[in-house]
Amino acid sequence: MKKNIEINDISKDTPTLTNVSIDDLMPLPGPGDYKGIEWKELSDDLKSEYACILDNSCILQIPNPKTKEDEDELVNKFLSGMRKLFTKENNWTFLAMLDTTMEHCAKCNTCSDACHLYEASGQNEMYRPNYRSEVFRRIYKNYIKKDLFGSFRNGDIDLNWRTIARLGELAYRCNVCRRCAQTCPIGVDNALVAREIRKIFSQELGIAPPELHDKGSMLQLSTGSSTGMTQMVVRDNVDFIDEDFSEETGFEFKTPWDVEGADILLIHNAGEIMAWPENIAAFSIIFEAAGLSWTLSSDLAAYDGINYGVFYDDVQFARTALLQAMAAKKLGVKKIVLGECGHAHKALTVIADRVLPEGLKIPRESCFPILRDIVMSGKIKFDPRRNNFPVTLHDPCNVTRLMGIIKPQREIVQKLCPQFREMHPHGPNNYCCGGGSGYAIMSRNNIPQWRSNIAGRKKLEQILNAFSDCRGPETKKYVCAPCSNCKGQIRDMFEQYELLEKEQLTYSGVVELIVNAMVDVNPGYIKWEME
């Protein structure tokens, strides 16, 4: 399969545009064989129902057109959406960035080497950040803007249903980590183009990955959480967590709900309640031990900080952010604090800043500064020797590159973890975990393979390198990944490559390290599952 594809190959009548072979993948540091996970053949049923014509995964699931009319309809609806995307009324949110990205790219490809997907895939052309943008730009300039001498100025693009279907699918081969945008000498944002293509599909064609839309943002708007937990279920589950972890830790605590007038409304990613209850318990233990005035809310969407709209749909984003702000207003809290969830951080703190109207502008902040202040305050006694194992810190893109929260989480691990070491690069120059923009919750159609083989490969390389002095199963090692999405991605990669067994590698957040070092808590809060 060709990996050095041309721009116009996207329109050709071929089974797929390209595939990344296991042999092409960027090698990982040994010892050990991390060759990559074999791709599975997509089922015939899937291929007959959906346009799985990009590569050997199928994330967006665009229905296959059955007639020429269906093909034309797909193209025309996309063009209609693209027209709207360039109007201030329909896209005031991102028009300035998108328009400048369309007009000023010098096509120098400086962004290519910044992209972990491009590097991990063995420099497959499809993953070059500008490939997707170039196709999109040529469609826009030649078919929507209708530039004079368009072909001369912009290059040609054959526009047919395959172009559109592949472009839509290609928008989901990017983590929107915006590392490419950070390196652009001009200020062009190719990651944004991926997001805006997703937006056309969702907002105009009504097509989005089910995990993000039907089972994601819509489920959150209907039940209150993308996990499907209703108000009653979530409270029951947290009650169980309180009981279990009070017993285990020897530290009695009760998570407060719906306390009017509390200082802090803490909003977790509700996925933590299901997958990592120790994270929920750790927050409760720390906040109670520090004597904070705080609460959770059981209002719709306010007990789940996720906001998948950030990844694909502005309207869904705004709806969720408004519900979360309204819940805080109703309780009369002084501020919202966001738990360990990167995209929730960015969504509510930064992006919503110019969406929330005057009456709903409640202060919002990250959990890391308050956790840092608690750890440094002396209110809680710590014994860092309990964390005397090699620890490295993963920087969630949304928290670091996109919000500039770099030091607080570092100061915590530096104080509490004697064997802390950085990954390289880190901070705002970090690499994405590979689960960014929603993939960590997807597990169908070769998506797990894609996440392990390509999307997460660079992060895995960084992790292995961070522990280069203690490789092997003899030493327990800990990757601190203070973001629910990142943890999901890292968990799945560790499982795929059996890193717990081979390297005694485990992962979790910052709060687990804090509780693990608390003198007033029974030792052994962090567990290596083999124990």
Binding site: E6, I7, K77, K84, K88, E89, N90, W92, T93, F94, A96, M97, D99, T100, H104, A106, K107, C108, N109, T110, S112, D113, E125, R128, E134, S151, F152, R153, G155, T183, P185, I186, G187, D189, Q203, E204, L205, G206, L221, S222, V315, L322, K335, I351, D353, R354, V355, P357, K361, P363, D373, R401, L402, M403, G404, I406, K407, P408, G427, P428
Partner: protein, 314 residues
């Protein structure tokens, strides 16, 4: 013909200014956008060194002080100047390209300085300065002119070579990329030849500039000089009509977007802008947005299409 070349030169300046102003106005007329900044942000002060922001503090909004536009610009400028003068991002992330694109850009900066010096020299000439212009201006003009011609020719040739021979660059290059580089090489080559064989002291160029400034339309007799002015006029008019308008638009891409971290606290102006955009009509067609009776952003965003109806809860 002499008069016509002045008309062409005036037109090129008018087209350049009009196109640049239109691009800037079009950008400035765009509605408020959501925050989409990337760190490090230089005006975060000491935190900028490691990419930090005000969001690293507890109760950050109580400590947040909006910087004046001037102070913010003063903090951003050193980083922006490094980026503009030295193409720092290309140096750090695309070294091979830097070796050819930097001479090209440096040549253009010197060219702008050269034109500025010609302008200054022409002013002195018009003012009747003895000897035409101060010696320092003449010396600098004589230095920067040929340097800029050579650097642009070398850089553009290198870029052309890279675009033709690097398969990764070639497939993203349209015909206009090759035309643009060819145009620069040709124009600078003609300018170089004019300087070498016709106008080594840039006397004709300065006299022509004086004619432009004073509307004196001093006759130009040399066809080579006429051709040089024609080409230069074409380049000046052409730049803002292409992606090369990043020459001036880069300021907005960096300052407004990449570093646009202005927080919406105590800002009636921002609230007013948000009020405007929330009342924009929405016409997206997907069923979760296209809801009867909900036409504006505010109406659509505050409507929950899957909420349990109040009656069903009872």
């Amino acid at each position: 013909m002499s008069t016509l070349i002045y008309v062409v030169a005036y037109l090129s300046i008018i087209v350049f200014l009009a196109a640049a102003i239109k691009k800037i106005i079009d950008y400035k007329k765009k509605p408020i956008h959501v925050r989409w900044e990337l760190y490090p942000v230089p005006h975060e002060g000491e935190r900028a060194a490691y990419g930090g922001s005000c969001l690293e503090d507890v109760d950050w909004w109580q400590k947040y002080k909006k910087l004046s536009a001037t102070k913010e610009l003063m903090m951003d400028l050193p980083v922006m100047i490094q980026e503009i003068l030295f193409l720092k991002a290309v140096w750090e992330h695309n070294r091979r390209l830097w070796y050819v694109t930097y001479p090209f850009h440096l040549g253009l900066y010197l060219m702008i300085s050269f034109i500025g010096l010609l302008f200054l020299g022409a002013i002195f000439q018009l003012a009747g300065y003895s000897g035409g212009s101060p010696a320092i201006i003449i010396a600098l003009t004589n230095l920067l002119g040929p340097m800029s011609f050579i650097l642009v020719i070398c850089g553009a040739t290198g870029l052309l070579h890279r675009r033709l021979n690097d398969s990764g660059l070639r497939k993203y290059s349209s015909s206009s990329h090759f035309f643009n580089l060819g145009l620069f090489i040709f124009t600078m080559a003609i300018s170089f030849l004019t300087w070498l064989f016709l106008d080594p002291g840039f006397t004709m160029a300065r006299t022509f500039m004086a004619g432009l400034i004073s509307f004196g339309l001093t006759p130009v007799s040399s066809p080579l000089f006429l051709f040089q002015v024609l080409l230069a006029s074409l380049v000046i008019a052409y730049i803002p009509l292409t992606h090369m308008s990043h020459l001036f638009m880069k300021y907005f891409l960096y300052h407004d977007i990449r570093w646009g971290d202005a927080v919406n606290i105590n800002s009636p102006e921002t609230d007013a802008k948000i009020g405007v955009v929330l009342n924009y009509p929405v016409s997206w067609a997907a069923s979760h947005i296209d809801i009867q009776g909900k036409t504006t952003w505010a109406e659509v965003a505050t409507f929950n299409p899957v909420a349990e109806p109040e009656t069903a809860k009872e």
